[in-house]
Amino acid sequence: MVARTVTHALVGLDPCRVEVEAHLESGVPTFAIVGLADRACQEAKHRVRSGIRSAELEFPRRRRITVNLAPADLRKEGSGFDLPIALALLGASHQLPAANLAGHAAVGELALDGRLRPVPGALVAAEGARRAGLERLVCAAESGAEVALAGVRPVPVRHLVEAVAYFRGEHDAPSPPPPVERAERAPPDLADVRGQERARRALEIAAAGSHNLLLAGPPGVGKSMLARRLAGILPPLEDDAALEVTRIHSVAGLLPPGAGLLRTPPFRAPHHGASAAAVIGGGPSPRPGEVTLAHRGVLLLDELPEFSRALLEALRQPLEDGVVAVARVGGRALFPARFQLVASMNLCPCGARGDPAAECNCSPVQLDRYRERLSRALLDRFDLVLALPRPRAAELAGGRGEASTAVRERVVAARVRPAHRLRLEQPAAALLDRAVERLPLSGRGRARVVRVAHTIAALAAADVVQADHLAEALSYRSPAELHVA
């Protein structure tokens, strides 16, 4: 007797339809799972056996059990196959009407007591189900809200017994619990920053134009503090972007249980010891890295020159294309990675440069070596570069700054204006020509300045880019201190 259920395996961020077939025949009792199942998936045998018994159902006795996961040549990973395997087995052993399994997909991990646990990527599995024309997805209760986002009707169950009862027609699908309104931990607020008018202004411009931002200065001037406050002044994600971000976080297993759509732009800050695979994405079977987790949000690289050179160079591709292509033996995947890069660094290895109270002891060779860690090409990716000198004590005694919500309102207003279509006013064009003549400004640097000037004009609600906007944009070009002499 054969029974079938459908589930979806993850390939990168995309679902791949997998048919789970269970076949029973009399003979010496064995339980085999075939179809390139990995270790976690092979161990499903034990969870399924215990889960079925705990649910006071019968695990087929004196039977040869074969479970096939088709297509057979696709590598199956993880524990999400537990539920479909259990359902197929129960169907094959006539404990529930196998015909009722049609039109359903299933995903979830079984606990030994038969309870259902959520698995990463439930949202992607639900999208697969929708594309496959399946109307319902049986999943753990915690995944209900996530599954509903894909336009598939979730059948959220807490225990295998509930799933069986549903398929026996004993009761209808439980309605999915409403998304948990988490008391979201508010991102740090700009009101905490005292003084630092210039850096605050640069943050606002960066947020309004999605510009990459580099903060350079001695330790302790508040570079990281400022950088961490960028996410809080970004506008909330729109529907498409929110779904995309939620999908990525679902696959990475970072979605809080019961959460619905993620509306806050993600903020990721990998440590400088992180491997290239962890940041860019990769692994034996491709998994999204930090750049993908920061998609549509902010990637903060604190102490930029401390990251490995290979990693920094690998960042250039996603910075340019907004996607990461990861090719591995286990498969090839394209991960979206359209993130806003914020980085901080000292001006020299000892950190005293830019600090009037300290004396830099770095030799010229040490300085050159430090600067060489950042290639010209990488520095060129930062639209805004800011040297932050150490503030005097008097500034820090000042009052609290403007709050993030007020800044965000201006950012949102600027974003809806079509900034790139603005015209350069004649005095602005003349100023740009003068600057190109006087300053070491490359072609790319010039384009960068113009881009920033457009954002500044949009923030000012101007109809044209004025000379003042361009002059301000010029003040955020990368200072000579960051380049090898």
């Binding site: 000198p389 005097r392 500034e395 100023l431 003042d468 002059a471 003040s475 201190e481 002499a485």
Partner: protein
């Protein structure tokens, strides 16, 4: 006496070229074998000129020191008469502060603009900035090497050396091609730096430094020694401040130097800053505000207005920025 042979011999034997060496039998043997015609031909093919001490064109001031080199090798297209023009050596620490770099560059620029030749050692730090300043003014500058004339040392200054030789400057060395830089050659190089110049200006120097050796050598030859005052708490100012205490002439601007060597300063009309915000910001900088944030507070202007004004001032060369600190 064959001065070219002496220079080549000293290089081959790793010796300091003095007239005493010419009396040794080793030199006699060397000189016998030495073919100066083909050597000069080889130099010429590499674009290197040789100026012997006995040559009438040899710089008079350099000939006047007590231990002049047998001659100098010269790279660069400029007229050799350049070496006899009024010249000032601008020297200092290799690891300098932003302040020192700025002062060296500005001095180099203003001295060159007044027609003075800026002499230095092509080293990192102060030396390099002095050369760059002179190039900024499209003026004349002479770089004295402590290694063979065919080398650019330090390597990081290859481009700078190229700018000097292709412009109105010269690179000179008492060492023939192929001589590697060695620690003992740098003090020897410094005597040439001091010897070529009427006056030596030390911009930044630690207590024991090569720049102070140059100053000592200049003093021994009776040349003017001047120093740029620095913060008394900075180790990089200990050397210069010690010179001042000993009676060196303090340098607060290029005109101080020009006055000391008797050169008329070039007339520089002081420009007015652009009216409006730039003028207000510049006034605040003159009152001691240093960073953009301090300027915001001092002027009452918004951060974006200050940023725009600072760019205007930078483009018009009223202020320079280093590590987020703005100075006039």
């Amino acid at each position: 006496m064959n001065e070219l042979a002496l220079a080549a011999f000293a290089a081959a034997a790793d010796l300091h070229a003095t007239d005493r060496e010419t009396r040794s039998t080793r030199f006699a043997r060397f000189a016998e074998q030495f073919d100066s015609t083909s050597y000069l031909h080889d130099l010429a093919s590499r674009g290197i000129r040789w100026l012997a001490r006995s040559d009438g064109g040899f710089p008079r001031r350099l000939r006047a020191i007590h231990d002049p080199p047998p001659g100098v090798f010269v790279r660069g297209a400029a007229d050799l008469a350049l070496l006899d023009r009024a010249a000032v050596a601008v020297v200092g620490a290799r690891s300098c502060t932003d302040y020192g770099a700025r002062v060296a560059r500005q001095l180099g620029c203003e001295l060159a603009a007044a027609g003075v030749v800026v002499v230095s050692g092509l080293a990192r730090g102060i030396d390099g900035y002095a050369h760059r300043g002179a190039l900024d003014a499209r003026g004349a500058t002479v770089a004295v090497l402590g290694c063979g004339i065919d080398r650019d040392y330090p390597r990081a200054h290859t481009q700078l050396a190229a700018q000097i030789t292709s412009g109105s400057g010269l690179v000179v060395s008492e060492y023939p091609p192929g001589v590697a830089p060695a620690p003992w050659r740098f003090p020897a190089r410094n005597r040439v730096v001091a010897g070529l110049a009427v006056a030596t200006v030390v911009v930044e120097a630690r207590e024991r430094s090569g720049a102070l050796i140059t100053a000592d050598l200049a003093l021994e030859e009776g040349r003017e020694v001047m120093a740029v005052p620095g913060e008394i708490t900075s180790a990089l100012s200990h050397g210069t401040n010690a010179l001042l205490r000993l009676g060196a002439v303090p340098v607060t601007c290029a005109d101080d130097v020009l006055e000391a060597i008797g050169v008329e300063p070039a007339a520089r009309p002081r420009d007015e800053p652009p009216p409006g915000a730039p003028a207000v910001v510049l006034a605040a900088i003159d009152d001691g505000a240093r960073t953009a944030d301090e300027l915001v507070r001092a002027t009452g202007l918004a951060a974006d207005e200050v940023a725009a004004a600072l760019t205007e001032l930078e483009l018009a060369s009223f202020v320079t920025a280093a590590a987020g600190v703005y100075r006039r």
